[in-house]
Structure formats: C-alpha cells, structure tokens
C-alpha cells in the first residue's frame, strides 16, 4: 500500500517535472545547453551620408532575413527624428528612413541582436535554370572562352564553381574585360555568376558579414551561392573555398547594394559587433516572453541577475544532496555528518579541487592536533568548540598570509571554507579518533573528501548549472529519485565486501 502510494507520488513528480521540461524545451524553445546558444552577437550598422544644403533625404537600407545558423531576436532602430518605415517582407525587407529637411553629416543606426543556433537552417527555394547571359562582343566570346576553360578543369558543379572563382581572380585579358584594371570584389563576383549562368547553373551573389568580437568598421563581403541540384553550396569568391564559416552572418540574399540614398552624398555603411556569452539565458527568456509571457513571468530568469546567480548555486544543493544519498545508501561511503560533503564541495568551487583538498586536509590536521592539545586542558564542551573555532580561523588566516608571501594565490581562497563546519569536523573527528581509533576517523575523513570531490565534479559542470537554472522543474525528477532511493533496500556496494564471508552459497 505504502509502496504503491510512493510509486504514484514518484510517477506524478516525474511526469510534472519532465512535462514542464519538455514543454519549455520543445514548445518554448529553451535551449538544452548553454554552450550551443550562448553565442549572442549584437551587430550594429551605421548608415551615414551627408548633405550640404537642407533638403529631403530618403535612405533605404536592406535588413537581414533568416540568416542560416542564427536567429534574430531583437532589432532596434536609432533614427534621430527621421521617419521610419519598414518595407517589403522576407528577403526584400528594408528599413526606409526619410526626413524633409536634412543638412550636414547624418548617421542612423540599426542594431540587431542574434544568437547562434546551428540547427536553424531555413529552406531556400530551389531555383529554376537561369537564362544564359546575353552579351555584346567582345564580352560574349571572352566569356565563352572562360566557360570552356572552367568546364575542362571541372568534374561537377562544385568544382565548376570553384574553378569559376579561380578564373575570375586571374589577370589575363579575357578576365580584365569584365573586372576592369583594378579588380574589385563586386565585379569579380559578378563575373563568377556570369560564368555559372552561362553553364546554366543556378547561382547568386549574397552579402555577408564576418563576425569577430569587438570588430569595428567591418564591411559586407560578397559570397557566391550555387545550387548543385539538391542543395545550396556557399563559396568564398576570394579563395574559392567551399562552405560558410560558422561566424559568417548572411546579411543580404542578393548582390544589390544594401544602402541606397536619395538626396544626399557619399552614403556609407559600416558595421560594428560585440560578442556576449552570458546572454544565453536572456535569449531563451526573450523568446519565451514573446510567445508565452504568462509562463515566463514565473521563471527564475525573471529575477534580478544577482538573485539568479545565487539560485544557480542554491539549485545545485538538492543535486548534491541526491549524490550524498547515492554515495551513502547505495555505495555505502561513510562521511562526517549527512550533508557536510555538499558544503565542502561548495567550498571547493572557489578553491579548485586539488587546492581545496590540500587546504582542507591541512586545516583539519592542524586543528585536530590543537584539539588533542586542548583535550589535556580539560575544557568544557562548548568552550572547547569555541576555542577550536577560534584556532581554525587563526589557522586559515595564517595559511592565507604564508601562501600569499610565497606567491601562491590559491592560499587566499582558504577563507571560503565554512569555518564552523571545519570546527565541527575537527570535533567529531577527534571524538571518533579517541573512541573508535584513528583508522575509523581517517576512513570517515577520506569518505567525506571523496564524496565532496564527486559532488564538486558534478557541480562545476557548466551544463548542469545552466540546466538547473533554466529547467528548475527537473529538480522534481531529482526529488522523485530521492524518494525512490528512500525505499531502496538492496545491498550497499561496500556491504558486498563486508559480508564476503557469507557469500559462499549460504546454508
């Protein structure tokens, strides 16, 4: 009866926990791990032009649309008194700024925040075969010659495209006819498209931005997109290399100029960008906020950042407790106190594992010898505990000072150990030492350290921390597992060793 009750409770908790989790993951699109979606880029386009006399100005600027590998989640326009209209849809989306009386140097900004989502690869329409370009002589025969050459050196569409790119970079007469005396990327890209279209291969020029952290005054680069019959291939027209690098943001799906200004001189576009990693959670929050505001209002992600970082640690405690249950009741490690290993593991987070263990052993060993000395003074229990606590604090200060003098900075982090916990450990260890012998005391001490190390190693996984903060409902599943372990009546692994004498088949 009781077992059935427990099983139902466990089932209900697991279903609620996983249900919420799956809903947030699948429907709200919360990313499963921080590293995949943590890449957030803020790209700012500065649109500038000038006008010496006051007069009407209209600037039309192409906006990015469905760039592969990214998702747009925020856009801002900084227009300074200009009227703003968004025109077109999808690939032809443009921002149109207009002002009746503009004068002098003008600068407008468009800021877009994107996050990396490699799974986001929007389908591009499959094109028909392009018409062969109609050209006058001598361009027509020059192009024929180039196409023939590329065709001879290629085996399929991909190698044909690569060949076309290589040829377009050449300096011989036939190429110069198209690209001019001083080759410029736009003309080169245009020639590549001409060669490809002559072979009736669907191809187009696109413009993309190479993302690099803190890059300023960046410009759009031309890329070639070729359809090989089943999928689109991207080519770098400068090197002929295939594939779009991960940090390339497709801004425009055509080779046309991104900025067109009427009524002003010297239009310029320059891009600056910034990379942020902490924004992964904000991204998830933003997306859910947009689609399901109710649910997100009750999310930890809505708390102030400081509280959030506190919770990202607090949420690890139940996981640590679960590990303690596992280590004690299933493995059978004996530790000081029930949740001491969790607290020690928390301290390890600051000191790093190896340093943490060394410092812990150092402080406890020193404290223990002081405790044995105090034992000879015949002190009452509470004053003795207080004395040990005082000595522990002094020892910690000493360790910090000495290691600092020696230039070992990690020694400073000793201050992060919970000193009351250490004083209690020393007290318990010394009683155990006297009553059950050093072997038992050291065994439990090692058990505590091993448990703390295991818990620490799980706690520091960034994926774990992220996962619990974004999906705190999974703690219900942890709770269900803890409840289930509460009815675990099997042997502890250490008991298999303890009762080995009885394993001889029984009577």
């Amino acid at each position: 009866m009781r077992l059935r009750h427990l099983l139902i409770l466990v089932l209900v908790l697991s279903v609620i926990g996983t249900g919420f989790f799956v809903f947030k993951w699948q429907v709200l699109g919360f990313p499963l791990s921080a590293d995949r979606d943590a890449d957030t880029w803020t790209v700012e386009a500065r649109v500038a032009f000038s006008r010496s006399t006051a007069g009407p100005v209209k600037a039309s600027f192409g906006l990015p649309s469905e760039p592969p590998g990214f998702r747009i989640f925020d856009e801002q326009f900084i227009s300074r008194g200009y009227g703003l209209a968004l025109e077109g849809e999808g690939e032809s989306r443009r921002a149109v700024w207009s002002l009746r009386r503009a004068r002098g140097e003008q600068a407008l900004y468009y800021r877009v925040t994107l996050f990396r989502d490699r799974t986001h690869q929007p389908e591009r329409p499959v094109p028909g075969f392009p018409p062969v370009p109609r050209l006058e002589e001598p361009e027509a025969s020059a192009l024929d010659e180039l196409v023939t050459r590329v065709r001879q050196e290629s085996a399929d569409i991909a190698t044909f495209a690569a060949g076309a790119i290589r040829v377009a970079q050449g300096t011989e007469g036939a190429v110069r006819l198209f690209t001019g005396a001083r080759p410029d990327p736009a003309a080169q890209a245009d020639l590549v498209i001409k060669i490809l279209h002559s072979a009736r291969i669907p191809a187009q020029v696109i413009q993309a931005l190479r993302l690099a952290d803190d890059r300023r005054d960046a410009e759009l680069e031309f890329w070639i997109m070729v359809h090989n019959g089943s999928e689109w291939l991207y080519f770098d027209p400068r090197e002929g290399r295939r594939g779009l690098p991960a940090n390339t943001l497709v801004w425009s799906w055509s080779g046309e100029r991104v900025l067109e200004v009427e009524g002003a001189r010297s239009p310029r576009v320059s891009f600056s960008m910034r990379y942020t990693i902490e924004d992964a959670l904000r991204v998830a929050e933003f997306r859910a906020q947009r689609d399901h505001p109710r649910i997100v209002d009750f999310s930890l992600l809505n708390l102030p950042l400081q509280t959030q970082s506190l919770y990202s640690i607090l949420l690890l405690v139940p996981l640590g407790a679960f590990l303690v249950v596992l280590l004690r009741n299933v493995v059978g490690i004996s530790t000081f106190g029930t949740f001491m290993p969790v607290l020690v593991a928390m301290a390890f987070r600051e000191t790093q594992l190896l340093n943490g263990i060394v410092l812990f052993v150092l402080i406890v060993a020193a404290g223990l010898s002081i405790r044995f000395y105090l034992e000879r003074l015949r002190l009452l229990l509470v004053p003795r505990l207080a004395a040990v606590l005082t000595v522990v604090v002094l020892l910690m200060a000493l360790v910090s000072i000495v290691t600092h003098r020696l230039g070992i900075e990690v020694g400073l982090s000793v201050a992060l150990f919970p000193m009351v916990i250490i004083a209690m450990t020393i007290e318990r260890m010394s009683i155990l030492w006297e009553e059950r012998g050093p072997a038992e005391a050291i065994k439990e001490g090692i058990g505590t350290l091993v448990a703390a190390a295991v818990i620490y190693l799980v706690m520091i996984m960034p994926a774990v921390r992220y996962f619990l903060l974004v999906f705190p409902e999974t703690l219900l599943v942890v709770l269900a597992a803890i409840l289930l372990l509460g009815r675990y009546t099997g042997y502890r692994l250490t008991e298999l060793l303890r009762f080995r004498a009885l394993a001889g088949g029984g009577k």
Partner: protein, 323 residues
C-alpha cells in the same frame, strides 16, 4: 562479479543496512518507543518493572556539580561503571576495576585521577557521547564480575551476549569478546571479537575479528573460541524474549552480561542492532526472520517463543519445518 556476489548474499538471506532500516526498524520499531532503549536509565527502570535482572544502579549524575556525590555512590564498592545514559555504540563507558585514594584503574589498565574522572563525566554530561550531542545524564552502576567461562577467551573487560530478537523470538546471537585492542570493551567497532552462538544449544561458533576475518583463536590469549557452552543460556534467551514486551520493539538487539554470582543481567537494548552478528554466525538474518514470518502470532508468552525459537534453530531455521 558484483552481480554474482549480490546474488550469493541474497541467496544466503544476508540483511544489508538499507534492508534493516526500511523493512525491519521502520515498520517494527515505533519511534515513540525509542526513548526506552536510547535512555539507559529508562531501560533499567522498565527492566526492573518487567522483572528482568539488571546491574544495580549506584546513582545518577545530571549536572557537573553533582560530581561530588560520586564519592558517596561508590563508597565501599571496589569497582564500578560510569556510563552516559544516552551513549551509543559503547562510547563513553568507563569500566573501573578498582579504586584507591582517589585513583581509579580502568579495565584497560589505565590509571585515572580525580581530575581525569571529573573531566570524563563533564564531557559525558555535556553530551559528547550522546546522539545529537544533547546534554546527557551519567549513571554509575555495578561492575559485573563476569562468569569465568570467558576468562580464556577475553582480554580483561566484560564479554557480553548480543541476542537479536525478532517479534519476540530470539533468532540470532553472538558473544562479544574484548581484546587488547578494544580496551576491555565488548564493542565490535572498538576491536572486540564476535563469536556466534547456536540458539538451540548455547554452544559458541568460531569468532569474527575486526576486519571481518573468521578466526577461531583469541588474539590475546590464544585459546580456542568455538565449542564453549554459555552458562544460563535458556535464562538469557528468556530474558531477551521478555525485552520484546519491555521495549515494544519488533526488531531489537539485547545485550546481556553473565555475572559470576547473579547470572545473566540486562546491560542495554539497541533499536538499531548491527549486522556483524551475521558474519559471526555465518548466516543471514533475513533467512531466519523469514522462517518465523509464517508463524504469525502462534506463540504468545516469552517462554513459548523461546521454545519455538530453539525448536526452529534445531531444524536449521527452515520455514517448511515450522508448520
């Protein structure tokens, strides 16, 4: 390998800690009856009420300034035992063999002065040895002059009997023999040896040394351990069976000492008895408890239960023979 060992232990009916806690202690031992076993003063009180013999209580101390009353309690008593009322696993028990002019000689041969004694009692009163570190009381009681039957197989101290009582049936037992390592105490955690006892006959089996090694020779005296008859065995079983009613606990460890003159005396009860008794007997506890389960409430009085348990032991605790 783990699977095989697991299966073998399961086949032998070996009880693990998780099993003991979840399937025996939790359902059979109501929490409200724990104080009876956790507080040794209360145990003694109840035992006297139920006519179970116990070592005589010389007095009890509750506050540090009562320590001066100690002299009055032990006047004219050559030896005595100082014991925290809530001590667990034998912690804090001080066995004094003899006292002379404010000097005390312990069972382990250590010599203590007044200040040492006072310190020990103060520590015990402030809860150093009690569960949870709560303030405690200290009892001063009769030191058992143990039966000479164990002289050859124990190193000083008091050897005692541990009898596991399941729903009133004594199902498994061992004698715990102090060693030099255990400082004269009969606690397995402190290095004492445990030797199983045949419930039917009261004959000892080979002992278990610390580290769970089966050993038929006492490490300090070199004498053989198995094949010794426990005196007053029937009486000891009867006492253990009565502790079921006394404590109201269905799964109980009963610790009994054998006094040379007074016979078996109840030392203490344990609501969470250890599992090493299985190694001492080379048998699993679960195998034995399961043999009693089909019996239901057939035996009512302690005497009937002892008779049934001995009968069962003679048949090797096989359930099919019980009905």
């Amino acid at each position: 390998m783990i699977r095989r060992r697991w299966r073998a232990l399961q086949a032998a009916g070996v009880m693990g800690i998780n099993r003991r806690n979840a399937d025996y202690i939790m359902p059979l031992n109501p929490r409200r009856n724990f104080p009876i076993v956790d507080n040794k003063l209360l145990t003694k009180e109840r035992a006297i009420l139920h006519g179970v013999p116990v070592p005589e209580l010389y007095g009890q101390l509750s506050t540090p300034h009562e320590i001066r009353d100690l002299a009055g309690m032990i006047a004219g008593k050559p030896g005595f035992v100082v014991k925290p009322a809530h001590g667990s696993q034998g912690d804090g028990i001080l066995v004094i063999m003899e006292q002379r002019k404010g000097r005390y000689r312990t069972a382990g041969g250590r010599l203590l002065d007044e200040a040492d004694m006072e310190h020990h009692i103060t520590n015990a009163l402030s809860g150093q040895f009690s569960l949870g570190g709560l303030p405690d009381q200290v009892m001063v009681e009769y030191r058992v002059r143990f039966d000479p039957v164990f002289d050859e197989v124990s190193f000083q101290g008091v050897p005692d009997l541990r009898i596991i009582v399941y729903r009133g049936f004594p199902i498994m037992s061992m004698v715990r023999l102090p060693t030099r390592q255990s400082d004269g105490k009969a606690n397995l955690h402190q290095g004492a040896m445990g030797a199983g006892i045949d419930i039917a006959t009261g004959l000892t089996l080979p002992a278990v040394a610390p580290g769970n090694i089966v050993l038929d020779e006492h490490p300090d005296t070199g004498a053989r351990i198995s094949g010794r008859t426990i005196p007053h065995w029937k009486e000891a079983l009867h006492m253990a069976a009565r502790c079921y009613e006394l404590a109201g606990l269905g799964y109980l460890g009963v610790d009994i000492v054998l006094d040379a003159e007074r016979g078996p005396l109840l030392l203490e009860l344990n609501a969470r008895p250890g599992l090493n008794v299985q190694i001492a007997n080379g048998d699993g506890l679960r195998r034995r408890t399961e043999a009693f389960d089909p019996l239901g409430e057939r035996a009512h009085t302690p005497l009937e239960r002892v008779a049934l348990a001995r009968d069962m032991a003679r048949r090797g605790f096989r359930a099919d023979h019980a009905a």
